[in-house]
Amino acid sequence: MISTREYNTAVKEYSRNIFRYVFKCIKDEDEAKDIVQECYLKLWTWRTNVNPDKIKYWLFTTAHNTMLNHLKKSSKVVPMEGLSNIDPFVVPNDGFDLKGLIDKSLDLLPQMQKTIIILRDLEGYNYNEIGEMLELSESQVKVYLFRARQKMKESLKDLNKYYENN
């Protein structure tokens, strides 16, 4: 069970991480805030069942599942093998810098690979923790991550070439 103080500490420490994670995935600020709020509401409701040592992990798992539910409801699900459905060259005009290109190449990834990259790079989770969150084996996570980086690398190359030619 977590106390009110532990809950408030979790809000102060992890709310921005969860917002960043959700916003990176769905690119909608208002919806990301809604999901963060929903996560903490669930945490408060289930506080008697949550292990205080695993609050961050619990929050990210809940945020991931809540986000998938939101995407399903709003029909914004990115196909798992979605690169072919998205035009990689429809890039915002203001984004010809490395960060903009990386963001765009990340958006071109399937949802699962994108999630894994964010959890790995921004939140620093290891393969095992990511696997537990997303219900995958450790080797599956590693494979997904490798593929995601390969795809990102290729799309970065393509986007670079496109902007250099135009």
């Binding site: 709310s15 921005r16 805030k33 963060v36 990340l106 990259i117 490798f146 690398k153």
Partner: protein, 256 residues
């Protein structure tokens, strides 16, 4: 032992950035990518796929997520109740000590009244004994203030007041000397008589009094003490006048 080649160099580069290679394997990767510029491009392109982004500023919704902490937990309630009880007990004990001090002062005045013939009986107790029996009473100034010999105080048997602890001790005292403190002049030796009666528990009847009553008593006692002092001085002056000696105000020898 694994070796890096054209078929698996991407995996090696991936593992290099993931930090799963040892020093020897890392050196192998670096040697390989330096063989050809295309490999080096791949190597650098992989590095760009790692996200580095700072956390956003404080979320505007953060304050709405926080919950008010419950300060009135059961532990706080128990602790504060205990503190209140203990402080209450200390206060009660303090007030008991004060009331005992007032009672002792009162007894000294009763003694005076008896000497004037207003009280029929009297019983006495050595002051030292009183102080030992009740260690909380540390001051004996009231006795000095009222001109009573410091060696003794008097307990009345008129059921007006009593000191239970003291009276219990008095049972052991067979004979208690009587001191006519106010009849003797300063510098003279106090005369003593024997008080024949023994003290019984019947004398130990306490009458709890309110704070206001106690204050009024104190005030009254002070007034009586002042009046007695005045009377004593008048008596001294009269004694001097009986021998046809004019009362001369003593001069300060230092002026001559």
């Amino acid at each position: 032992m694994r070796t890096i080649d054209q078929s698996n160099y991407e995996e090696w580069i991936f593992e290099y950035y993931e930090g799963t290679l040892n020093a020897e394997e890392k050196a192998q990767v670096l040697d390989f990518v330096q063989m050809d510029s295309s490999y080096m491009e791949e190597f650098e392109a992989f590095a760009k796929t790692y996200l580095r982004e700072p956390l956003p500023d404080k979320l505007p919704i953060e304050s709405s997520l926080l919950r008010r902490e419950n300060y009135f937990s059961i532990n706080y309630v128990i602790a504060s109740t205990l503190v209140i009880i203990v402080s209450g007990l200390l206060l009660v004990k303090k007030s008991e000590v004060k009331s005992e001090q007032v009672n002792i002062t009162k007894h000294s005045v009763i003694n005076e009244l008896h000497q004037q013939g207003e009280l029929s009986k009297e019983k006495r107790l050595p002051v030292q004994r009183l102080n030992y029996s009740n260690p909380t009473v540390k001051r004996v100034e009231p006795f000095v203030q009222f001109g009573i010999n410091n060696e003794h105080i008097i307990i009345s048997d008129t059921n007006h007041t009593s000191l239970p602890n003291v009276v219990r001790d008095l049972k052991e005292v067979q004979e208690v000397p009587k001191v006519n403190a106010y009849d003797s002049l300063s510098g003279e030796k106090a005369t003593t008589t024997i008080a024949p009666e023994k003290i019984t528990d019947k004398d130990a009847i306490t009458a709890p009094k309110s704070r206001l009553e106690r204050k009024a008593e104190k005030r009254k006692l002070k007034q009586i003490a002042k009046a007695k002092e005045k009377q004593r001085r008048e008596r001294e002056a009269q004694k001097l006048m009986k021998g046809n000696m004019p009362y001369v105000v003593p001069l300060d020898p230092n002026t001559f």
